[in-house]
Each structure stands twice: as structure tokens, then as C-alpha cells.
């Protein structure tokens, strides 16, 4: 085999548009490229001149799959710039909203985008013909997450209730309580989900990743914490750009984030889990052990199990917040525009999402910087692809192609998130 090119021109079941290309010459993988032909939308350019108060609504439009993540990183960065801090019930409600997005987004990925790979279906709708009850369980789980977003955020996609300083309107205690029943059912469904996905067949592949995630001493970090790694990194969000950098690679015409020393790193469920395992709820830890996961999981194919464990946690945490909720006197604390720079990093379902804003004296945005999780994972995805293909060259083309797609889907890449991801210059050798 002198030459072999595997191309998947339109990668299905990832949000957004991407392609992948692996070139093999004389039995050696020469390149593995994840291509994104998502047209650039220039958010960081047109955010300039907008009011600080508009950032959560505008940046949520970067991604319809994880709008809450953009809203959360934006409000935290703005509050950092304006010297505002949020605590008590308003902080809990933000965490609850984020739990809703995690449940919705993870259930979508597990049931509709990822599981079909393991079971040999083209998608969840095909899968429903043979496994109707399972798909319905997944849809029910997804719906429970969406119900949180809908009640607390106003709607599931691009919620309208988040503002710098808090919310426009906070729910009554009895309104929140209506979510508890469906969340308890969802937690049961999440437990069954862990058991179900733990029974899939996983390729035996591990990599020694540099894991990067937020970490908080008292909780499984969502909104707040320091950025840590399994190599000793421990920094506040304000130092992110001192340790990581995005480069515009000519080969792929895409921005890729790497550590300053050039190494790739991994954000998302595997990283969060490895760095914060002991802060999961007892039930989530127990489910992880039952599923055969240790406190660290380095097999990207098993990320589906870790996602399922995180869904158990998010249901648990949502129920805890609803149980303890006391209505705050005001929906928001005042936030006035002033000059300054603010940093925010939160845990989107797909991993760390970094925002930085510099504000003018009237509170208008002078400069914006956004680094989404998928651009941080891109280098890792490509390395996974290269390694996987190198070890699997004896597979027939079609099987290999399918496994390559699956390798990419392990990361749940939210390609439309990554405004920096561009059309790939295809090397059609």
C-alpha cells in the first residue's frame, strides 16, 4: 500500500460543519487533519463598540448547542471587569441553569450523536426502529435538561433571562419545585444510561493527555474555579493567555490552542473528571465505579461513560439546588459600566470556555477574546486520529473511515462554537 487517503467530506453528527482527512504514505501516517468549513462570523470584531450588558445575549449566538456556556463565561468576565460578585441563591441559580445545559447537551451527544456509532446505526432515528425504548429514555433525559433551561432561562436555545449581575426575573420557590419530579425521573434515567453505555465495546486505546479544567475546592466546577492541569498548572482565568496560545496554522487554516510549549491538551469531560473526581456527588462516584471507571479515564472512546456520569451528577446537583433554594430579594445586583479588563472561564459541556473583555469608561467593549473548547481540543483530536489510523491500517477503508469519524465524535466537537474554525484547504493527494 503505497498511498492511501481517507476523507470524510461532511462529518455527520457533530454540531457544525467539519471534515477530516488522513493521508497515509508507504504505511506511515503523514498527516491527520480535522477540517472545519464553518464560515467565519467575526464575533470578536463586531463585539467592539457594543455595551458590556449585551455580551451574554450576543455571544450565546456563537453556539445554539451550548448558549448558556457563552452567557456564563460572558457574565463572569464582565462582573470581573466591573467589580461585581454574585453569591447566594443567584449563584446557585446560575449553577442550576448550567446543569440544565449539561443534561441537555450530554443527553443529545450520548443518545443521538455518539451511541449510534457503538451500535452500528446511522443516527438516533434509525436506532429508534430497533431500540425505541432506549431512544425515548434519552429524549426524556434531554427534555428534563431543557425544562430547566426553559423555566429558568425562558427558552432552551438562547435563553433570555441571564444578565450581568444576575437575572431579569428569578423563579418562585414553588415554580422551581415543579422541576423536581422530572429531575428525579431523569436521575434514574441517567443511572440507566451509565449502565447502558458502560456495556458498549470500547477500543483499547489510552493516551497520556495533558488534562486542563476548572477546579473549585468545594464543588465540581462549572462557573468558578482556577484553571488546573494534571501537570501542575494552577492559575486564575486572568493568566490563561500567559500559558496557552492560539495559532493560525497555514496547513489547516484554523486556529488551534496549545500550551505555550507547543503541547496539545485536552479539555472536557475526561479532563474535568480526572481533575475533580472527588468532588462529584457520592451517587455519581458510585456509578462511575460500577461502570468500571477509575478516578482517571484516559480512553477517549470511554468519554461517553464519563458524560453519562456527569449527567447523573448534574441531575443530583440540580435537585440539591432546587431543594435548598430561597428566593433572593432582588433578581440582580446593580452593574454599572466602567473602564477595566475582565476574565471569565467556565466549563461548557465540551470543556473550558475562556472570555476576556476590555471595556471603555462608558462600559462599551473595546476588545474581546473568546477561546472555545473545540479549538483547544483540535490538536488532541488530530493526534488521536494519527495514532488511531497508524495502528489500524489493516482495517478495510470503510471501517477505518467510520472509526475515524467516531474518533472525532468522542470529543463532541462543537464546531460552530469555534468561530475561529475555517474551511480546510483540502490536500487531495
Amino acid at each position: 500500500m503505497a498511498r492511501k487517503t481517507i476523507k470524510v467530506n461532511y462529518l455527520s453528527r457533530v454540531e457544525g460543519e467539519g471534515s477530516l482527512k488522513v493521508v497515509v504514505r508507504d504505511g506511515i501516517v503523514r498527516s491527520a487533519e480535522l477540517g472545519i468549513f464553518e464560515p467565519p462570523r467575526f464575533f470578536e470584531a463586531f463585539l467592539r463598540g457594543r455595551s458590556f450588558a449585551e455580551a451574554p445575549d450576543i455571544t450565546s449566538r456563537i453556539c445554539g448547542i451550548c448558549p448558556v456556556a457563552y452567557q456564563m463565561s460572558a457574565v463572569h468576565a464582565m462582573e470581573n471587569a466591573l467589580g461585581v460578585s454574585i453569591d447566594g441563591p443567584r449563584r446557585d441559580l446560575r449553577r442550576l441553569l448550567y446543569c440544565g445545559e449539561w443534561i441537555e447537551s450530554h443527553a443529545l451527544h450520548i443518545y443521538m450523536l455518539h451511541a449510534p456509532d457503538f451500535l452500528g446505526f446511522n443516527g438516533a432515528i434509525d436506532m429508534a426502529r430497533e431500540h425505541g425504548d432506549i431512544v425515548r429514555r434519552g429524549l426524556g433525559l434531554k427534555k428534563a435538561g431543557n425544562e430547566i433551561m426553559s423555566l429558568l432561562g425562558g427558552r432552551e436555545i438562547h435563553p433570555i433571562n441571564v444578565r450581568v449581575g444576575g437575572f431579569y426575573k428569578v423563579p418562585r420557590r414553588r415554580e422551581l419545585a415543579t422541576l423536581a419530579e422530572s429531575l428525579k425521573a431523569a436521575r434514574d434515567a441517567a443511572i440507566e444510561t451509565v449502565r447502558w453505555v458502560a456495556g458498549f465495546e470500547f477500543p483499547d486505546r489510552e493516551r497520556d493527555y495533558v488534562f486542563v479544567a476548572l477546579s473549585h475546592p468545594d464543588e465540581y466546577a462549572l462557573n468558578e474555579g482556577r484553571i488546573v492541569s494534571n501537570r501542575g498548572l494552577d492559575i486564575p482565568a486572568s493568566q490563561y493567555e500567559e500559558h496557552f496560545e492560539e495559532s493560525h496554522v497555514a496547513r489547516s487554516t484554523a486556529l488551534q490552542a496549545r500550551l505555550k510549549d507547543g503541547r496539545s491538551y485536552l479539555v472536557g469531560p475526561l479532563a474535568r473528571y480526572a481533575l475533580n473526581f472527588d468532588r462529584l456527588s457520592p451517587l455519581a462516584r458510585e456509578m462511575a465505579r460500577d461502570a468500571g471507571l477509575g478516578p482517571v479515564c484516559r480512553n477517549p472512546f470511554r468519554s461517553i461513560v464519563v458524560r453519562a456520569v456527569e449527567v447523573v451528577y448534574a441531575c443530583d446537583e440540580a435537585l440539591r439546588i432546587i431543594e435548598g433554594y430561597e428566593e433572593p430579594a432582588h433578581a440582580a445586583v446593580p452593574a454599572e459600566g466602567r473602564a477595566g479588563t475582565g476574565y471569565g472561564a467556565t466549563e461548557a459541556p465540551r470543556g473550558l470556555l475562556y472570555h476576556r473583555y476590555r471595556l471603555d469608561a462608558d462600559g462599551s467593549i473595546a476588545e474581546a477574546r473568546i477561546v472555545p473548547p473545540t479549538s483547544q481540543n483540535q490538536a488532541s483530536i488530530e493526534e488521536d486520529l494519527a495514532g488511531f489510523v497508524q495502528d489500524s491500517l489493516d482495517l478495510p477503508d470503510e471501517a477505518l473511515q467510520h472509526r475515524c469519524e467516531q474518533t472525532v465524535r468522542n470529543y463532541d466537537p462543537c464546531i460552530s462554537c469555534a468561530t475561529h474554525f475555517l474551511r480546510l484547504e483540502m490536500d487531495r493527494a
Binding site: 457544525g16 460543519e17 464560515p39 462570523r41 470584531a45 453556539c63
Partner: protein, 260 residues
């Protein structure tokens, strides 16, 4: 029981967008399997592996046209589609990315990318209807789940979808909301904004920010007169009309009357 091939074939296409409007279909958790029972979801890359082949009875198109390649691709989609429905503010008005239409896209590229010369993009972001004939436009950023199901149901029944073009104000009145502008002096685009969200923002004590775009016959000039006494300056007014439907003619025109 009709055979699978007799069912109408549905395709979901994506142009420049956030994926939220096509996600709306997957968010129909209670209805999705019934929809899949009535219509053959033949091409929907976000949800399923499948190839572009043949013709489609109903195409849902998300996203705006921002690259030369996409300007070609939408023509191909039109050729393959018996009925073409655009979904969401990007597809119906150019979306938030149409803010480039008021700026220099080269300057934008140089702000975001180290090598702007790699970027192949058009100077404008435009609605699908600016490029090909569109059979129905569904508004919203994002679209409403209920209205999407209405579009599909109407298609299956061979009738026109019911999606009133009156203002958000009418929805507030139907809901019995207290007017946020009258009662709380909160600036609100409800009087000029297309219905469909069921007056969501005012129901949360917040002014409408126009994510469904202009209503059928908006009087934005008059609304701006009412907004000024609420403390909005010229720059605020321009920002208010220039968000997710900035390039919709009525909002564009009104935004051009204001500015810093």
C-alpha cells in the same frame, strides 16, 4: 402502512449559523419520533449519517450566505428542493454576522485572525431569499419549536403555515402581561417586532430585543421617539436595532437614522 419511500423526503441544510435552529427539531423530544414516522429525514448531518442524493420534497435551510462557496451551494440546494423553507434570523435576515454589512470585513478579519489572507469571505452576510426563491420564512433567533412543528404539519397537510406577522405587543395583550415600557419605563422593541416567541422577554420583566425581526408593517421611527425619553441616546438606539436581524430592511433603515 405506506412504504418508507412514499414518505416525503426532508433535508436540513446549514449555512453560516450557530446550529440552534436545526437543534430545535431535535429539541422536539415528544414529537421527534412521530415526525420521523411521517416524513423521511433523508439528509440531516447534525443528526444522522447520510448522503446528499436526489431531490428533496421539503428543505429546511438554516444560516446566512457569507462565502462565495455558499452562494453557489444554496443554488444547488434550491435545485434539489421542491419546497424550501428558511428557518431563523440568519436565514431570513443575515443573522448577527450581518453586522459586517455596516463595517469593513477585511478589518474584521484582521482583528480575529493572525493571517486574514487565509480568509475567503464575502463582504456581506445576506438572507437566503436574497439568493434564491424561498417558499416560506420562519422567523426567530432561535425559531420556536411550536412554529417549526406547525411548518412541518402544514407541509404534510398541503396548507400554508399559520405564523401571524403581527407584533409582540399583540402577544403581550393575549397573555395579559403588564406593559414593561408603560409600567417600568423599560425600553422594548415589542411594538415593531414580529410575533412568534409568545412575548417571552416581557414575560420575564425584560424589554423585547427584536430577535424575531421586524413585524409586517413596523413604525420604527415612531418607536424611536418613544424610546429617547427613556434614556436611550443615539448610539443606544443604533445598537438596539442592530442585533440578530440588523440587516432586515426595516431595522437596517431605522438603525441608519441613529448612531454615535
Amino acid at each position: 402502512m405506506p412504504t418508507r419511500s412514499k414518505k416525503p423526503r426532508l433535508a436540513v441544510w446549514k449555512f453560516a449559523s450557530c446550529d440552534g435552529c436545526q437543534l430545535t427539531l431535535l429539541d422536539c423530544e415528544d414529537e421527534l419520533l412521530a415526525v420521523a414516522g411521517a416524513i423521511d429525514i433523508a439528509y440531516f448531518p447534525e443528526a444522522t449519517r447520510g448522503k446528499i442524493e436526489g431531490r428533496y420534497d421539503l428543505s429546511l435551510v438554516e444560516g446566512s450566505i457569507t462565502t462565495p462557496h455558499d452562494a453557489e451551494r444554496i443554488r444547488e440546494v434550491r435545485r434539489r428542493s421542491a419546497t424550501l423553507v428558511t428557518i431563523g434570523a440568519c436565514a431570513t435576515a443575515g443573522g448577527i454576522q450581518a453586522l459586517r454589512n455596516f463595517a469593513d470585513v477585511k478589518e474584521y478579519a484582521s482583528v480575529v485572525y493572525a493571517r486574514p489572507d487565509y480568509i475567503d469571505t464575502l463582504a456581506t452576510s445576506t438572507a437566503i431569499a436574497d439568493h434564491v426563491a424561498v417558499d416560506f420564512e420562519l422567523r426567530g433567533c432561535p425559531i420556536s419549536k411550536k412554529q417549526l412543528l406547525e411548518v412541518i404539519a402544514a407541509y404534510l397537510a398541503g396548507r400554508r403555515p399559520q405564523a401571524p406577522a403581527h407584533s409582540v405587543c399583540v402577544e403581550c395583550k393575549h397573555k395579559g402581561n403588564v406593559c414593561v415600557m408603560v409600567a417600568h419605563k423599560t425600553p422594548c422593541l415589542g411594538p415593531v417586532t414580529h410575533a412568534g416567541c409568545n412575548a417571552l422577554c416581557p414575560s420575564y420583566g425584560r424589554g423585547c430585543y427584536g430577535c424575531y425581526g421586524p413585524m409586517e408593517s413596523p413604525n420604527a421611527v415612531s418607536l424611536s421617539q418613544w424610546l429617547k425619553p427613556l434614556g436611550l441616546d443615539e448610539r443606544d438606539l443604533q445598537r438596539l436595532y442592530r442585533t440578530f436581524n440588523a440587516n432586515a430592511p426595516a431595522f437596517r433603515k431605522e438603525s441608519e437614522r441613529h448612531g454615535p
